[in-house]
Symmetry: C2
Subunit: 489 residues, 2 copies
């Protein structure tokens, strides 16, 4: 920009910063910049002032400017140019600038009257969209590192050969790739102690998709679902979408407690392999108890076995499904934690009648998970590469787990219970700690943590818990990140 325009823009940005709202400063700055880009004040290809210059002009910290810039990168408004700065993306304003003329004569659509209410309350985002660009991302979930690029590319090439092209590229109607189903049966399930026939397996687009189909098939207004408290908020949202009533089941050091009064529950949702978010593994006694009580009372058990393979000091326990002689367990598995979430691949193991029903639901809703991803994954597994990847991931994660456990032990002012696996720590702060405020403050130091409040049910949800994921962060960044965080505690 010319210096004159420059000053006009900075003045307007300064105005938007002084707006009296509850929004954080970086957010107001970001909104101001978005407006400037959309209104064509900042043109495509134009360099933005360096964070130092803009911070000086606006009298804010460089962190604030950097944070606004990072969010704009994620939303596609600007692009980073290495060692130079940020440039406004081309052609962003053109549609609006071209001025599509909405017909003023007809009344605007009142969307709020047409759209059903979404499930409220639990959709607090616990991390910024741009978390990848922070130096210390202690986010929950896996990172993109360690993906077996060579094996994947090889398998993809094979998947596109003549003999595989049909299943890879064609409409499979309501079917799954039989090769993938076979690999799930032979490679994944035996390691979890599960035997299944092919008609007991449905391929999904990951855990959430499996849970959605199950909820859609089995729950309606007035259904009752027992859920772990604290537990996985994204499963709860699905049950609430079906207008089910949630019954909190407390979690202790042995896992979830199934009260005698399981009677009356239609479904129980559990994470026995590693309880989300506490990382507790359910004891064998509790498992037998749960199965006995559910079987007797007719509640179905939905088992989310999301990161079974990541035990670092012992063999992973078998799945609850492996003990299920009555066929009451619906097992939900995923490739997200073992290959990559970006593949969106998972599966459900359940009674053939339920699987057939889910298959038809899935067909109505979206046909099937992409054939090309199913076939490529199957070929990778057939080549033995999948098992190698898991072993490699487990080694890398064990090393990160040791690093974070040590760092937290050394640096935190209070003690964090140890775990024997998983991809995150569950930290209970002292009474009075506001984890959301801590998370907000930590961002200014480049540290991303996830407040745990949304994992709890009910009106008095404690605010002092947070999760420290250690899979997406570089091993070498773990200790410095924990140091930054400890300084704030």
């Amino acid at each position: 920009m010319t210096s004159e325009q420059h000053y006009a823009t900075v003045a307007r940005l300064s105005d938007s910063l002084s707006d009296e709202t509850d929004k954080p400063r970086y957010r107001r700055l970001k909104d101001g910049l978005t407006r400037a880009i959309e209104q064509g004040e900042l043109h495509g290809g134009e360099m933005l002032p360096s964070s130092r210059v803009l911070a000086d002009h606006l009298d804010v910290s460089r962190n604030t400017v950097n944070r606004a810039y990072r969010e704009l990168v994620v939303e596609g408004f600007i692009e980073p140019i290495e060692r130079v700065g940020y440039v406004v993306n081309d052609g962003l304003g053109e549609c609006d600038a071209g001025g599509r003329s909405r017909d003023g004569s007809s009344a605007p659509i009142r969307w709020e009257e047409r759209l059903g209410a979404l499930v409220e309350g639990d959709d607090e985002r616990t991390r910024p969209a741009a978390w990848r660009s922070y130096p210390y991302p202690f986010v929950v979930g896996p990172g993109p590192e360690g993906f077996p690029i060579g094996s994947w590319t090889r398998a993809m090439r094979t998947a596109l050969r003549e003999e595989h092209r049909g299943p890879s590229l064609h409409n499979l109607d309501d079917q799954d790739d039989p090769l993938l189903v076979e690999q799930i049966r032979r490679t994944i399930l035996p390691a979890r102690g599960i035997e299944a026939t092919r008609d007991e397996i449905l391929v999904t687009l990951g855990t959430q998709h499996g849970l959605h189909l199950v909820a859609e098939a089995l729950l309606g207004a007035g259904s009752t679902v027992g859920v772990e408290d604290p537990g996985y908020p994204d499963a709860r949202r699905l049950f609430l979408r079906q207008e089910a009533r949630l019954v909190p089941l407390p979690v202790d050091a042995h896992g979830v407690t199934a009260p005698e009064g399981l009677s009356g529950l239609d479904m129980v949702f559990v994470t026995p392999g590693r309880q989300f978010p506490t990382n507790v593994t359910m004891t064998i006694g509790r498992r037998r108890e749960l199965l006995a009580r559910a079987g007797g009372d007719g509640a179905l058990i939905v088992e989310d076995d999301y990161d079974s393979e990541y035990c670092y000091s012992r063999r992973p326990p078998q799945a609850l499904k492996a003990l299920d002689t009555a066929g009451v367990v619906v097992y939900v598995g995923s490739f997200s934690k073992f290959l990559a979430p970006g593949l969106r691949l998972g599966f459900v193991v359940a009674d053939p009648i339920l699987v057939d029903y889910l298959r038809r639901l899935r067909h109505d809703m979206l046909r099937h998970p992409p054939g090309i991803i199913q076939r490529t994954t199957a070929l990778m597994m057939e080549a033995g590469d999948y098992s190698r990847v898991i072993r490699r991931h487990r080694r890398a994660l064990r090393s990160k787990w040791q690093a974070i456990t040590e760092a937290v032990d050394d640096l935190f002012p209070w003690s964090v219970p140890s775990t024997d696996g998983g991809m995150s720590l569950w930290v209970a702060g002292p009474k009075g700690l506001d984890a959301a405020a801590l998370a907000e403050k930590a961002l200014d130091d480049g540290v991303v943590i996830e407040p745990g409040r949304s994992c709890f049910l009910g009106p008095d949800r404690p605010a002092r818990y947070f999760q420290l994921g250690f899979a997406a962060i570089d091993r070498d960044a773990i200790r410095p990140g924990i140091e930054h965080l400890a300084r704030l505690l």
Copy 2:
């Protein structure tokens, strides 16, 4: 198998063929073979008798045996070995043979009491699952041929490079790949006359997924939806799932007719670019009329623009959305017909408020379409390969369209109205023709056609229509296939 076992098995198969059921013979044979495999009578690795031998023994036609074998291949029970025959797959019986002991003490689960009723009526499969293995597959929808393997593999390799790995492999939360959204805005939409900002675009897993999200967001018990009659049955199923009431709108040579009484309708579902299944393109007059009536009466219009690019004798007309100044059109597009259905990729263009809502629904249900497919497609488009592919597909399809039009003109005993594009013909047989029976008979000659009855609404659905898809079949197979079919007419 030893000859003694062989004869025992053949005797049992012969028994299952003589079961008195309504099932076709090939189906009874297939079921008998499935049982023999599951009960370990036929072992993994064992060769099946040739179709000639088995047909002789059982006194059925070789077509019947071949058809049963083909279905078993699709379901993964047996595998073809080129120029040799069929072999039973390994390890299929092991789980059942190992004998998972279902606990006899607890009552079996009564699934029928737990599962909601699925939408009935319209889920008649109109083609065999194994259609790919028939010599003359006149199925509706694209084939796997012509997929740009080179460009795709190149783009996939790039998508896995450091700088693209995050968006390709990571959880995108509720976001889409900004590169793909940009390519949709710049490459696809302008060709359809549509201008859209980024917040008006949502990436989906194909048309059906887009329609499902829209139905889920906007329809509930008692909503009324105007649908084309005949029309697309899979869209109708989604509306019925929401317990909406369907109002049939007749289709003539100008496209769908929007009655003056659009008032009272909450939504109208249309395929103006090429009406499904009749292939009629909606005239500009009808379009303006529909928009005027919908705008005034407050009905939203859902436009399914599934094969816009395939006009062979003139430029494709712009989308209805291009004329939409009031923001009442929800546009649903897909990559299935232009790249491959196996990618499961599509998009919705609509008001930002609706898009934001659909985005949150999608996040609850399955997160997002696979990042790796989004980024790879975006990079392919950026390289200009997508437009090249479309042009190549259009050329190949035009040639098939000429071949089928000529063959039908030459060989059919009645005339079929000409079209100027698309991927199928809509054939009205003479009064009294039963297209379902014709389709069943044609299968024995290796010809797959799709009966059109399920496209109609109401109790008196005509049985004499069928669809002849010409995209999935080889060009050289078109005329011989039509010859076979004409012989049956």
